[in-house]
């Protein structure tokens, strides 16, 4: 059993009589210590997936089905009381605008100590302070941040504070939802490097939800490519990005300009995202896929295993086949 295992996870948003199939039957395992990049364009369901794992979606606006097993416990059916034990202590999240969640009228240190003491009621003030300072050091922030107000910090520093907050109670699973997107390139690069160092030190497992493939290339061991709510391809980052098997992954990478190596043309993927309110019997990518057959439009493609831990939901992705140029 993997550390975190998604089984047939689906999320529908309910809009009156209509259902928007935001996430549709996503399954993949995450081993302890893995860093999984979940990439997709807008509307691919990547953020919904993260919110569902955190149990932030529910009646009456959303319906979550399937299983998400964290060491055998199903996150989706866990009682609210047990969930509280889990949040911050076992799993923590950092969002794109996490810094907006900081109170503007309290010092960073007080906010951090509060979070710590909620989960460690026995801890003294001094212990809470020491723990807060320790995590601030871990994300390369100076001690003075402890006595600063949020407005005294830059965006990059506040995002670092958010990451420090997420580490405060020693979680083993961290979900980053576009956590570095709003930052400048240099700051983003440094934070990504720090995160990877912390992961090795603390044995963290990370889900990285992002639209930016270069972030995944720089910081994740595995990649899950999503399109229109479904998982297209899952596998080790280096292999998937070097020789993608699913036509969507191939198209996405062709559309992505490369910074190094040979300069190649940029090629878009013609067409647009399907209407997620409709039931799509076949492959969701078929209308935009150059190889789509009648069968693709009629029947949902089965997952093909390319090698252990690398699979794609397309019959073309069979083992040993070279990616199409």
């Amino acid at each position: 059993m993997a550390f975190l295992e998604l089984r047939n996870l689906s999320v529908d948003y309910l809009m009156g009589a209509q259902r928007v199939h935001a996430v549709d039957g996503v399954s993949f395992p995450v081993e302890k210590g893995d860093s999984v990049g979940i990439v997709g364009e807008s509307g691919s369901g990547k953020s919904t997936l993260g919110l569902a794992l955190l149990r932030l979606l529910g009646e009456p606006t959303a319906e979550v089905r399937g299983e998400a097993l964290l060491e055998g416990m199903d996150l989706l059916t866990l009682a609210e009381k047990d969930l509280q034990e889990l949040r911050w202590r076992r799993m923590a999240a950092v969002f794109q605008k996490s810094m907006n969640a900081l109170s503007p009228v309290h010092k960073i240190g007080k906010q951090m100590a509060d979070v710590y003491r909620v989960h460690h009621p026995e801890a003294s003030r001094e212990q809470a302070k020491q723990r807060a300072l320790e995590t601030l050091r871990q994300v390369n922030l100076a001690e003075r941040v402890y006595t600063s107000y949020p407005h005294e910090l830059s965006g990059g520093m506040m995002q670092r504070v958010s990451i420090a907050l997420s580490l405060l109670n020693h979680p083993d699973l961290i979900i980053f939802d576009e956590a570095t997107t709003a930052l400048d390139v240099v700051t983003q690069g440094q934070i990504l490097k720090e995160i990877q160092y912390l992961e090795r030190e603390l044995g963290l497992t990370r889900l990285m939800i992002t639209h930016d493939i270069s972030v995944v290339a720089a910081s994740c061991s595995h990649v899950a490519v999503m399109y229109a709510g479904r998982l297209m391809e899952y596998g080790p980052t280096a292999k998937v990005l070097r020789s993608p098997r699913h036509p969507y992954t191939q198209g996405l990478l062709r559309a992505y300009p490369s910074l190094r190596g040979e300069k190649t043309g940029m090629q878009g993927i013609p067409g647009a995202l399907p209407d997620l309110k409709e039931e799509i019997p076949g492959c969701v990518f078929a209308p935009r896929c150059p190889w789509a057959t009648e069968d693709c439009r009629q029947r949902r493609p089965e997952e093909v295993t390319i090698e252990a831990g690398w699979r794609a939901s397309c019959p073309r992705a069979v083992e040993g086949r070279e990616p199409d140029a």
């Binding site: 240099v186 700051t187 690069g189 639209h211 720089a218 490369s258």
Partner: protein
């Protein structure tokens, strides 16, 4: 002397800060602080830098949405400020700008047709609406937006960001400008539709022999479209040169750090160069090199005078005293 479409000389834009007490003078925000470059027809210059480096202000100066506080700007050899004052329409027809968010660039109550006809009417292009509409149709077809009438009767919210951005570019191109600024035109679009916008921009630039300034924070996109790249830091160019030259042999420490911090799809390892601190604000920087307080190679000499841009390789200018002393190592 070659004919430059657009030439900037020591272009500067300072925003005064209002002081609370009378008589207290706060130093101004130096958004653009002495930028010089010249562009030939058909050439694309890309300006890259982080937020707050002044790249968008520079773009606005180039099309005179703002007026510079110092320096000269010439459009086809004529002074831009004078030209803009004397005949604003003629200036605007020659120098166009495309913005980041296409949904802000269209009136949501107008159909695409109405939005596209307006500039044509204002600039007196085409004899009647029928003729003008035909021009719009041709433009859409040339960009693969077919059937054109389908697009013309729609409203902006009925189109995707990528389609609307292409129409925004086409609308500007109908005026046949000699010079265009594209300010982050693809940064809010999805990856799979970016390519269409980039390809359109590139094709039109070469077909119409137009000069383009492409403002971006994304180095990989820049590489695809630009002939030359200028790296901006705190209102100044710190490095400018042919794009492959700058990306493959970056010289300025800031450019090197920036490049190392960019992940690339095909990279093997990721090891960004650490630079100290956060991007500072462009107030009261200097007198030495603006980057020196964060630079990993800075020495005492960096704090004395701002290093001028020096040509260290053919066409490759760098403003760094260390690079100048070391010279260029040929790889």
């Amino acid at each position: 002397m070659p004919e430059y479409v657009m030439a900037a000389e020591n272009l500067s834009r300072f925003y005064p800060q209002r002081s609370v007490k009378i008589g207290d003078a706060y130093p101004p925000v130096k958004a653009v602080d002495g930028v010089s470059f010249a562009l030939k027809a058909g050439e694309t210059l890309s300006i890259i830098g982080e937020s707050g480096c002044g790249k968008s202000t520079l773009g606005r100066l180039l099309v005179q949405l703002e007026t510079q506080d110092a320096g000269n700007l010439t459009l086809a050899g004529q002074d831009a400020v004078a030209l803009h004052r004397k005949d604003p329409l003629a200036f605007k027809r020659a120098a166009q700008i495309v913005f980041q968010n296409p949904f802000d660039a269209f009136n949501p109550r107008f159909t695409i047709l109405k939005s596209m006809l307006r500039p044509l009417k204002i600039h007196g292009i085409g004899r009647n609406d029928g003729e003008r509409k035909e021009l719009c149709r041709q433009a859409l077809v040339s960009a693969g937006l077919t059937p054109p009438d389908d697009f013309l009767r729609r409203f902006p919210h009925e189109l995707s960001g990528g389609q609307l951005q292409r129409i925004s570019i086409l609308r500007s191109m109908l005026l046949e400008p000699r010079f265009m600024v594209a300010d982050e035109p693809v940064s809010m679009l999805d990856v799979s539709v970016r390519a269409d916008v980039m390809n359109l921009l590139q094709r039109l630039t070469s077909q119409r022999h137009m000069a383009l300034v492409f403002i971006s924070h994304d180095l990989a996109t820049t590489r695809y479209i630009a002939d030359r790249i200028a790296v901006m830091y705190l209102g100044r160019f710190v490095e400018i040169g042919a794009s492959e030259e700058v990306l493959n042999h970056p010289l300025h420490p800031y450019t090197r750090a920036l490049l190392s911090a960019c992940g690339s799809v095909d990279q093997e390892s990721f090891d960004p160069i650490e630079i100290a601190g956060e991007p500072p604000v462009p107030i009261g920087a200097g007198p030495g090199c603006y980057f020196a307080p964060r630079c990993f190679e800075a020495g005492p000499e960096c704090g004395e005078n701002y290093p001028p841009l020096m040509e260290l390789a053919p066409g490759h200018f760098v403003s760094c005293c260390h690079c100048a002393m070391k010279g260029v190592e040929t790889p």
